[in-house]
């Protein structure tokens, strides 16, 4: 691209600080980056321009550390309508329907203010989806926290969960699933990843591309305040009452306004009143306008003095960088403006013209008639210099992968099951998901508490199965296998319901990429994700990268959360996770080798996190997925639940304990052969990948076995389901040992593990 040597002039806003080396540093721009900026402009930038650059050239907007790695993801397939690069990815569904979905992190805001941080995280991801013209039909959330014995972590946990709940509940979008894991690495740096899934007619798809010189830009929704403004602007000001008043403020969510924005936006798009529309997320007005302009290859001019503000005296710098929530930026033909304002008024919102699309390719900001910023738009968005950090695995990580527990188990093989079910990471998350509305919209086929959430597409017979997953222990110990495992588990969870995995969105939560061992984790995990997605034919449709997640004790455990969407052709064929009927036959799909490396058993029972996590055979996983779909389609399955944390024994226990509000748990009589003479604990708690516990009517066993053989999936009948409140019995054919657990007690342990810990302190009352 030609180098626009000297661009248009821009003048400092009255009273604005001159741009010095120190101010540049405050804006987290390197000398090299600043050099590019002055070269690009042919002059010193104004403070407003510097703020704009620092926002768009931040990691969050520019992906300067990660672009080359992310380019290696498979992003294509016949089902892909919209790949990465828009507000959300879009996949094709039957009958002209399409699904838009995206996951995003809100880690730092949630660490500072858990309730508002989590709430606004949900708000942001909802907007990403409805700006595409899709109606949100499900949200999911993936949470990581430090251990619950620390009151600070309990405070963060309850605040985050209430924030997620209050926001989604108020907007009226069901939360169909999610995950929560607890590990010391997240103390002081919790992770809050929120995923939204929306439905649209493929023909209604709306892309955020500004075009049409002379078209009008309007802001819709909340007035702009000083929320979450990049701290740099005041950092070095001597503290005066004035600078105090200008401190950036916590973003506060307003789900009521969001609901109105949602309805108004969908109405505007349906009526064809807009050329483009985009929510104002990170770096609010700056990124939304600059990105829409760049995508459309046009320039924009914004008059910040026209933007409705919540407080008097806001500077262009503040208005451009404000992260006030519940705002949208609309591009429309001039003659549409009155109709747009009428629709907004009906929804008790305001839409105000604040700028226009121009032909000079410049990103120009005017305030009270003075041009305070004029930047070549394309270079602004795409011109950020790319870094390629060094990636090197830490020797300690290699050693840890090779290590084994040195201390004896705390309890025997039978006692271990209770210990595992009481582990907050494995225990039921009912305490969490019962704070989330999971039935609003009345399309919930399978709600939280199973392997994946399932919803019906309104007015059709088909549905979507959705799951978010990541086992950060595996990723920590072996980033490549861990990346594969995250995709494999998400796909397995979706397949357990009978659905066919379609595609993923990912949220890559890592530490500081300038640390070689962190960037190694990043590149290796991404390589694993890419390989798994290729093997399963589930392309990456988008996602989000969150770096610099460092707690006082160092980087967080690497956590590439995978959000998987699958298609269930006939929702009446969906398969629940829990044993449904007494006397059903229980079968185990997949191969058990008793792999304890990286297992929950070692962590919980030996107090040891280490070893090599179970390798994932991607072909075997893919065959397993296809078998589950085929068996479900033929109506052969009464239940299917995959083995994840805690292996076969925990999977069996969960299938017995049953759905979150079952009147009573079921029992099971299980009879395990052990040809490999694997130690009992390894047989019960080993976490070999690619295994699923299914149940079916005894007459169907033969068909299931035949179908499994056809798909090349090992299958073995291992027992039968018994009546309500009967015990779980596991008999080991060799050694003739029988382990017996009363299921009512297992249920109590499983459901009470988290409430018991949270009862310790009612804590502060957040929200209304």
């Amino acid at each position: 691209m030609t180098h626009a040597a000297v661009s248009a002039e821009a003048h400092p806003f009255k009273g604005e600080r001159p741009v010095t080396a120190e101010v540049v540093r405050e804006h987290n721009l390197t000398e090299a980056e600043y050099g590019d900026i002055t070269a690009m402009l042919g002059r010193t930038p104004t403070l407003t321009e510097l703020g704009i650059f620092s926002a768009l050239w931040s990691e969050h907007c520019s992906y300067k550390h990660t672009k080359p790695v992310l380019r290696k993801f498979p992003t294509e397939g016949p089902q892909v309508v919209q790949g990465p690069g828009e507000n959300a990815g879009v996949l094709r569904l039957p009958d002209g329907w399409a699904v838009a979905f995206k996951i995003e992190s809100h880690n730092h805001p949630s660490a500072v203010e858990p309730y508002q941080g989590a709430a606004t995280g949900v708000g942001g991801i909802l907007r990403d989806v409805f700006t595409m013209g899709a109606r949100p039909v499900a949200v999911l959330n993936s949470l990581r926290l430090g251990p619950l014995d620390d009151p600070r972590n309990r405070y963060l946990f309850s605040g985050i969960v209430k924030g997620v709940g209050d926001y989604g509940n108020c907007v009226g979008v069901p939360t169909l699933g999610g995950e929560v894991a607890f590990a010391p690495g997240y103390s002081g740096n919790p992770l809050v990843n929120a995923m939204c899934v929306g439905l649209l007619r493929e023909t209604d798809l709306m892309r955020a591309r500004a075009h049409g010189v002379g078209n009008i830009l309007l802001t819709m929704g909340s007035r702009t305040g000083r929320d979450g403004i990049h701290g740099a602007s005041f950092a070095s000001e001597e503290l005066s009452a004035k600078s105090e008043a200008r401190r950036p403020q916590v973003q506060v969510g307003d789900p009521f306004t969001e609901k109105l924005l949602l309805e108004a936006t969908l109405e505007l798009i349906e009526a064809g009143l807009t050329v483009a529309i985009q929510d104002m997320g990170a770096a609010g007005l700056t990124s939304s306008s600059a990105e829409m302009a760049a995508r459309g290859g046009v320039g924009v001019e914004l008059d910040t003095s026209l933007v409705p503000t919540r407080e008097p005296g806001m500077t262009p710098y503040e208005i451009m960088l404000s992260e006030t929530q519940e705002r949208m930026l609309i591009v429309a033909e001039p003659h549409r403006v009155p109709d747009i304002q009428a629709v907004c008024a009906r929804w008790e919102l305001t839409a105000v013209p604040v700028g226009r699309v121009t032909d000079d390719g410049l990103f120009r900001i005017v305030h009270d008639g003075v041009t305070v910023a004029a930047i070549p738009g394309e270079r602004l968005v795409d011109g950020c210099p790319i870094h390629d950090p060094e990636a090197r695995e830490a020797p300690a990580a290699v050693a840890r992968r090779a290590a084994r527990p040195t201390t004896p188990p705390r309890v025997d093989a039978a006692g271990a099951l209770t210990l595992l079910l009481d582990d907050p990471t494995i225990a039921s998350k009912r305490w969490v998901f019962e704070q989330y509305d999971s039935t609003v919209q009345a399309e919930t086929v399978l709600g939280p508490g199973g392997d994946a959430g399932v919803l019906r597409v309104p007015g059709t017979g088909f549905g979507l199965a959705i799951s978010v997953d990541c086992n950060q222990r595996y990723v920590t110990l072996d980033p490549y296998e861990g990346g594969k495992a995250a995709v494999a588990e998400a796909a397995r969870n979706v397949a357990c319901t009978g659905a066919v995995p379609l595609g993923i969105t990912d949220c890559l939560n890592f530490g500081n990429p300038d640390k070689p061992e962190v960037f190694f984790q990043f590149t290796e995990a991404c390589r694993g994700i890419a390989d798994a997605c290729r093997a399963f034919g589930t392309p990456v449709t988008g996602g989000n990268v969150s770096l610099y997640n460092e707690s006082p004790t160092g980087a967080i455990d690497p956590t590439p959360t995978i959000g998987m969407v699958g298609l269930l052709h006939d929702v009446t064929r969906r398969v629940p996770s829990h044993f449904a009927a007494a006397d059903s036959s229980i079968l185990l799909l997949g191969t058990s080798r008793g792999h304890l490396g990286g297992s929950s058993y070692w962590e919980v029972v030996h107090g040891f996190v280490g070893g090599a996590p179970p390798p994932v055979d991607l072909d075997a996983e893919h065959r397993l997925q296809r078998l589950l779909a085929a068996a479900a389609e033929r109506g052969l399955l009464r239940s299917a639940h995959d083995c994840s944390d805690g292996g076969l024994a925990v999977a069996l226990a969960e299938a017995c304990i049953g759905e979150p509000y079952a009147a009573a748990p079921r029992g099971a009589k299980v009879n395990l052969a052990n040809p490999g003479a694997v130690p009992v604990a390894a047989l019960l708690y080993g976490e070999d990948a690619g295994r699923v516990v299914i149940s079916c009517g005894t007459p169907e066993v033969a068909q299931v076995m035949a179908l499994a053989a056809e798909h090349g999936v090992p299958a073995e009948p291992i027992g039968t389901v018994s009546a309500a409140s009967e015990p779980l019995e596991i008999h080991l054919r060799d050694g003739h040992t029988t382990l017996r657990w009363p299921t009512p007690e297992l249920r109590r342990t499983y459901f009470d593990a988290i409430p018991r810990r949270m009862r310790a302190d009612p804590g502060r009352e957040e929200g209304r």
């Binding site: 209430k162 709940g165 209050d166 509940n169 108020c170 907007v171 009226g172 307003d254 789900p255 009521f256 306004t257 609901k259 109105l260 929804w347 008790e348 998901f433 019962e434 704070q435 989330y436 509305d437 999971s438 039935t439 609003v440 919209q441 009345a442 399309e443 919930t444 086929v445 019906r456 309104p458 929702v571 009446t572 979150p660 509000y661 079952a662 009147a663 009573a664 309500a724 409140s725 249920r747 109590r748 459901f751 009612p762 009352e765 209304r768």
Partner: protein
């Protein structure tokens, strides 16, 4: 039967409520909260959601919407009115039903299935059920604890105006009364029995494909209800 489903800003259960009415054979249509006419509706449903974000108090602001006058006269004339969840809260705030719905005793929003016993089958919304029948339908609310002065409670019980009561499966590990409502009250009705408010969401479990249609009876009951068209006093728009 023509059933008006009222949309307040922040309502969010209108579509499924309409679907449930139509599945039962009714003709459902939206009424915007600013409308002053019910457009010849035979019955009115105030759906669930978060009208005005539930700010201040659930239902406190919505009760002043222009449409409430028309609903008031519809109710006065004996027309059937159902408030579900937020709709129930609005009816209480508006004084169309007695008592109040306050923060759950557990202080948390609660989304889960509940078992409720049908206490009255002679209302326009429960005639399809058997007295004493227990149905399982979802709740989703943070302010569902029904409270009322003792004298009013006695009166409600004496007049048999408790329509649904939380009841529990003995073996279940969760309390049958999810929110601490006095006397396990999940739904009440007006003296005439024609205005009903309930916290659970029958429209959310009214379709076998979702696993149960236990709630559909509420809408089938309405279809059986003999309606004498209610004269609409207020001027009509559109």
């Amino acid at each position: 039967m023509r059933v008006a489903v009222v949309r307040f800003p922040g309502s969010n259960c209108e579509p499924e409520t309409c679907r449930a009415v139509e599945r039962a054979g009714g003709d459902a249509f939206y009424i915007w909260h600013r409308d002053t006419s019910l457009s010849d509706a035979d019955a009115v449903i105030l759906p669930g959601g978060f009208s005005y974000g539930d700010y201040l108090r659930s239902g406190a602001i919505a009760r002043f919407s222009p449409v409430m006058e028309a609903i008031r006269s519809h109710a006065k004339a004996g027309g059937p009115v159902l408030g579900i969840c937020n709709g129930f809260q609005i009816l209480c705030e508006a004084g169309l039903l007695p008592g109040a719905l306050v923060r759950n005793a557990g202080l948390k929003y609660l989304s889960r299935p509940v078992d409720v016993r049908i206490e009255r089958t002679d209302t326009p919304f429960t005639s399809a059920y058997r007295a004493g029948q227990i149905i399982r339908i979802p709740i989703g609310h943070g302010d569902g604890r029904f409270v009322a002065p003792a004298s009013l409670l006695d009166q409600l019980e004496a007049e048999g105006r408790v329509v649904l009561r939380y009841a529990g499966a003995p073996e279940s590990d969760v309390p049958s009364n999810p929110n601490g409502s006095v006397q396990d009250i999940a739904a009440i009705c007006s003296a005439s029995g024609t205005v009903v408010g309930m916290m659970p969401h029958p429209e959310r479990l009214a379709d076998r494909v979702l696993g149960s249609d236990a709630g559909q009876g509420v809408f089938e009951s309405l279809m059986r209800y003999p309606v004498t068209p209610v004269p609409d006093p207020s001027p009509r728009f559109s």
